[in-house]
């Protein structure tokens, strides 16, 4: 593994400050959206993976990433590129990201999906496993709506997506 340079590390620390505009507790790093950071003197290239393609937040995220990195004194130019390969999958959300999603009231994506495509998540509020799917499609492309029969709260879950589908 290559050693991260000081410059790359400082870019990563700025990326940690860029949150998902629709889930403001989780950073783009924690969501697994950053594929590569490359520093070329004063130019920073960031390759990012879109979660869902129709996500209207992508351009906002791009602008926020540029703005954040430009705050570094040595940076002259920031190039943010969305790429499709490798595809973003819900397994890319980090453990800290999963924890922060829960704090926001969103169940992290399930790690396992049944052979018939069925999946299950526990309630992010009370931890109960007694939950039902209300709607696979939710308020944003990457979320589903569920209901907890334990604490009687509706909640959302991040939809699992994988190349196995």
């Amino acid at each position: 593994m290559q050693m991260m340079t000081t410059k790359e590390a400082s870019v990563k620390s700025m990326l940690q400050e860029v949150k998902d505009p629709e889930i403001d507790s989780v950073s783009v790093l924690e969501l697994g959206m950053v594929e590569q950071v490359q520093v070329d003197d004063a130019i920073v290239h960031v390759q990012m993976l879109p979660t869902f393609m129709g996500c209207p937040a992508l351009e906002i995220i791009r602008a926020n990433v540029e703005k954040a990195i430009k705050q570094l004194e040595w940076v002259n130019e920031v190039k943010v590129e969305f790429i499709y390969q490798p595809p973003w999958t819900s397994e890319r959300v980090t453990d800290i990201g999963r924890q922060k999603l829960k704090e926001f009231g969103i169940a992290p994506p399930p790690k396992q999906i049944g052979e018939d495509g069925e999946w299950h998540v526990d309630c992010p509020y009370c931890g109960s496993t007694y939950t039902t799917m209300d709607n696979i499609f939710g308020p944003t492309a990457c979320r589903s709506i569920l209901y907890c029969k334990g604490c009687k709260n509706p909640f959302e879950a991040m939809k699992p997506v994988s190349t196995m589908m």
């Binding site: 879109p50 869902f52 393609m53 129709g54 996500c55 209207p56 499709y84 390969q85 595809p87 999958t89 495509g117 209300d134 709607n135 696979i136 499609f137 939710g138 308020p139 492309a141 709506i145 939809k159 997506v161 994988s162 190349t163 589908m165």
Partner: protein, 270 residues
């Protein structure tokens, strides 16, 4: 071919991949628009959220294809989406058809049976096409196919559920579904065809042969139809071939509405 640059160095290849991308882009673009016209009108609120989310994903897929066309030097992707004339469009005719009498703002008397049948048939044909495109000789398109496939999984599951439940439903549902199936079949060959240059696309390894893909779609459908105790009517292309730029006035109306904001000031940032 790994990149747009490589594709551009081979004229015949470039023409074939461009033609295919226009079909894929225009199909998703117009289908997403007709789907979005159900916003606020779907049978219940969960469906409003679901079908709108599916339309949003689908528009995202069109965006990727237009981007691939831009990368091949076809022009700005927004212009490709909004600025091209109806006769330049390559989408299938059944996808441009209005959702029903009236219009979105005034007395929309839309037909949910037609919406479900068109959505389900289209999602299944898209699934077969995408599975083939995962092995496309054009690497950027193969990458996009992997991405689309993950989202399409949920779309297909959604529309298959609606389709089976309404066909097996009570009251007027089965009869309305039967009529909708007949209506969609009359023009669905227009979706399953890859147009006059289908063979060239296959010979360049961009996608499999049209007849292979069509057979796969029919097999899939016949299994589902048999399990529901109904049969699949004959497929046709009654109103023309959209792949040749043949269209109905429904497309004019859709493009005028879709492009209204963009065309008022193409240089603006929205």
């Amino acid at each position: 071919m790994k990149t747009a640059q490589e594709a551009n160095e081979n004229k015949a290849y470039k023409e074939a991949v461009t033609e295919l991308l226009y079909q894929l882009a225009d199909d998703d673009f117009i289908h997403a628009f007709r789907g979005s016209e159900w916003l606020g009108l779907a049978p219940h609120i969960e469906e409003d959220v679901a079908s709108s989310s599916i339309s949003q994903d689908t528009m995202g897929h069109a965006t990727m294809y237009y981007q691939l066309l831009e990368d091949l030097g076809e022009g700005d992707s927004d212009e490709l989406a909004h600025g091209r004339k109806p006769e330049q469009r390559k989408n299938a005719i059944i996808l441009e058809e209005v959702n029903g009498p009236g219009n979105y703002l005034k007395e929309p008397d839309f037909d949910w049976a037609f919406a479900v049948v068109r959505q389900y048939f289209y999602a299944q044909s898209k699934k077969i096409r995408i599975d083939s495109l995962k092995n496309s000789s054009y690497q950027p398109l193969a990458d996009v196919a992997v991405k689309v496939n993950m989202e399409l999984y949920y779309h297909l599951m959604h529309w298959r559920t609606w389709f089976s439940q309404l066909v097996n439903g009570k009251g007027e549902a089965p009869e309305r579904m039967k009529k909708a199936i007949e209506k969609v079949c009359k023009d669905f060959d227009g979706v399953l065809t890859l147009g006059p240059n289908a063979e060239v696309m296959a010979s360049h390894g961009l996608i499999e042969e049209e007849k292979v893909l069509k057979q796969r779609w029919e097999n899939e459908m016949e299994n589902v139809f048999a399990s529901l105790g109904i049969s699949l009517p004959e497929l046709g292309m009654e109103r023309g071939n959209g792949r040749k730029g043949e269209h109905t006035k429904d497309l004019d109306g859709a493009l005028a509405t879709l492009g209204e904001v963009y065309l008022s000031d193409p240089a603006a940032t929205w």
